[in-house]
């Protein structure tokens, strides 16, 4: 008897009015239309102003409508969700437009010839020429920088996580933090001062040294985080088997975190591949192919972009964009490789 009377009521407290599934889309469409309408009426021309008005209208509209139809909690939930979406769009739109305009302008002169020839005797105002020398320079400088920074960084992180106790560890952590904040031009100047002391001409490896200074703290930080993620139980399990500590680190800790560590290294490579300032100071740039990073000026992709763009010729503009596209593609490939390695090396859980 009592169940018969209470059942419908009990059910109704669990079920409230819900906005239909299409409601957010409708509100979005409405606010975009209103945003454009207001802008046209007020004579605004900037796309950004339109979009901001639409975004604000969307959030306000969501809150008011949801509060009316549903309740305050649901409305807050929807507002926060839409804030996340708006923030996401704000982040993605510039990125997408950057990639889009680079692809649009970069594909004009980007072809196999462009990738396999240097600027040689081509003047900035002429068509033709290519970026082979710059690609070669970037690969060598970044490669050498990685050869220095990756081992040193990983070993430092191992020291900090596995061995570091007391003042030395604290000092190292402090200096790594300080190094993270070094502007690239300062790293360049540091190496430059050394070069001037020994009266040396610009060469590729000097740039590598500056890039290594920039890369090292990033590698230390990311590796440290990855090593800390390895559960202590695994270290203890290995130690309890009578495995020495260094072997435990080498065979248990590092393999467990290998995916994360390589991802971190790849990302730090991507970061230094775009550095211009130290390369400008230390490697100087060159129009010719120089395959020896230890002697003579070299080119590099970011530096090439900077110099071509700075020359002001239309033909050079096109080359600068094509080189930008190449650089972006290089960084993207690195990221994809990093993800691939992370997935491939991740600890297996499947049956």
């Amino acid at each position: 008897m009592s169940t018969a009377t209470t059942a419908p009521k009990a059910a109704s407290t669990l079920r409230g009015a819900r906005l239909p599934k299409w409601a957010p889309w409708a509100i979005a469409a409405g606010s975009v239309a209103a945003g454009i309408g207001i802008s046209v009426a007020a004579g605004l021309h900037s796309n950004i102003q339109w979009a901001l008005i639409a975004a604000i209208l969307y959030i306000l509209g969501t809150y008011v409508i949801a509060a009316r139809v549903e309740n305050r909690r649901q409305a807050t939930d929807r507002v926060v969700t839409s804030l996340v979406w708006v923030a996401f769009l704000l982040a993605v739109v510039p990125l997408a437009s950057l990639v889009w305009s680079t692809v649009q302008r970069g594909t004009k002169v980007l072809d196999v010839y462009f990738l396999t020839h240097s600027m040689g005797v081509v003047a900035d105002s002429e068509t033709g020429g290519g970026i082979y020398h710059a690609i070669l320079g970037t690969l060598q400088q970044v490669g050498l920088a990685t050869l220095i920074a990756a081992p040193v960084g990983v070993l430092t992180a191992i020291y900090l996580v596995e061995y570091g106790r007391g003042n030395l560890a604290r000092a190292v952590t402090f200096f790594v933090d300080v190094m993270t904040g070094i502007p690239s031009i300062v790293a360049g100047l540091f190496i430059l001062s050394l070069m001037l002391m020994f009266d040396m001409e610009p060469f590729g490896f000097a740039g590598s040294l500056a890039l290594a200074i920039l890369m090292m703290p990033v590698v230390v930080r990311s590796t440290e985080e990855m090593l800390k993620l390895v559960p202590n139980e695994l270290r203890e399990a290995s130690l309890a088997l009578g495995v020495p500590k260094w072997r435990t680190i080498l065979k248990v800790v590092l393999p467990t975190s290998l995916g994360g560590i390589t991802t971190g290294i790849m990302l730090s490579i991507a970061r230094i591949a775009g550095e211009t300032a130290p390369v400008l100071l230390l490697v100087f740039g060159s129009k010719f192919i120089n395959a020896n990073p230890f002697e003579g000026a070299q080119a590099s992709l970011p530096l090439y972009i900077y110099q071509q763009y700075g020359s002001g010729e239309v033909t050079a503009y096109d080359r600068a964009w094509a080189a930008s596209l190449t650089l972006i593609a290089f960084v993207m490939i690195l990221n994809l490789v990093a993800r691939g390695i992370a997935r491939w090396k991740a600890p297996k859980t499947g049956r």
Binding site: R165, P231, E233, L234, R235, E236, A237, S238, L239, A240, L241, G242, V243, P244, R247, T248, K251, V252, P255, T256, P347, K348, T349, G350, R351
Partner: protein, 258 residues
């Protein structure tokens, strides 16, 4: 090759905190000794001093003697790494190496120590897995990751990993606390078999388990929170459970504690 453990006047610290104080006891070879006592009284700490794992913890420090047969584990010139090869350990939570297959997990101790013959490896793995009552369940998927096993199977995998290096003593810290009754029974049976070859020390919160598997039982207690834990008494399991000589033991076992 089971060995006798002889502990005298053992005190262990975490930094400045004294966790256990002045513990002395003898553990006979080829026997099972159970440690019981309330949470926080230092059972795990004491267990970990027996294979020098205590000092792995930051600030861990030990005073006193632990004789393995006649050699003091804390004597000068003793290498903790060799101690841990003689005194193996199974942890409360199963912890197989996630990057390794079942086979590699069992072979890990030998491989990582570097002293093994390639031809023997497969034999050792099979023998250890059989010893841990796991062989039949995993023989068709030795190359699959060890973390893909059930919790009870993972724990038996960890036991197989520990016995593969042929230690003299096997320490087990609540090895069944995360397991169902059937897996627990499997591991208890296993302990019964293993004691033919090893000296076994097991920490447990399960009185029935202590009564079922052990020959001797040690009761630990602490006088108050923050005080160091102490050994109250150690005696034949039958006696501890029927007629203990200390009142506190009887209270704890019969559940009239605190």
């Amino acid at each position: 090759m089971a060995k006798r453990i002889d502990v005298s006047g053992l005190t262990a610290y975490y930094g400045s905190h004294k966790a256990i104080e002045d513990i002395s006891m003898t553990v006979e070879p080829r026997s099972v000794t159970a440690f019981i006592g309330p949470s926080g009284c230092g059972k795990s700490t004491f267990l970990r001093t027996l294979n020098r794992m205590h000092e792995v913890t930051a600030g861990g420090r030990v005073e006193g003697k632990v004789l393995l047969d006649d050699e003091d584990l804390y004597g000068t010139g003793i290498d903790p790494v060799s101690v841990r090869r003689e005194v193996g350990m199974v942890f409360q939570r199963p912890n197989p190496f996630p990057t390794m297959s079942i086979f590699d997990n069992v072979a890990a101790g030998l491989r990582l120590n570097g002293n093994y013959k390639k031809s023997e490896l497969a034999d050792v793995v099979e023998r250890s897995l059989k010893g841990a009552n796991l062989w039949n369940e995993v023989k068709d998927r030795l190359n699959k990751p060890g973390s893909g096993l059930s919790g009870g199977q993972q724990q038996r995998l960890c036991i197989a990993r520990a016995i593969a290096v042929e230690p003299n003593v096997l320490l087990m810290d609540e090895p069944c606390s995360a397991l169902d009754p059937i897996s627990t029974l499997a591991i208890e049976d296993l302990i019964g078999e293993l004691k033919e070859r090893f000296t076994i020390v097991i920490v447990t919160h399960n009185m029935q388990q202590a009564a079922r598997v052990s020959d001797r039982t040690a009761f630990f207690n602490l006088s108050a929170v923050g005080q160091p834990g102490k050994l109250v008494e150690i005696d034949d399991t039958e006696r501890i459970f029927s007629n203990p000589s200390v009142q506190a033991t009887e209270d704890y076992i019969s559940g009239r504690f605190g």
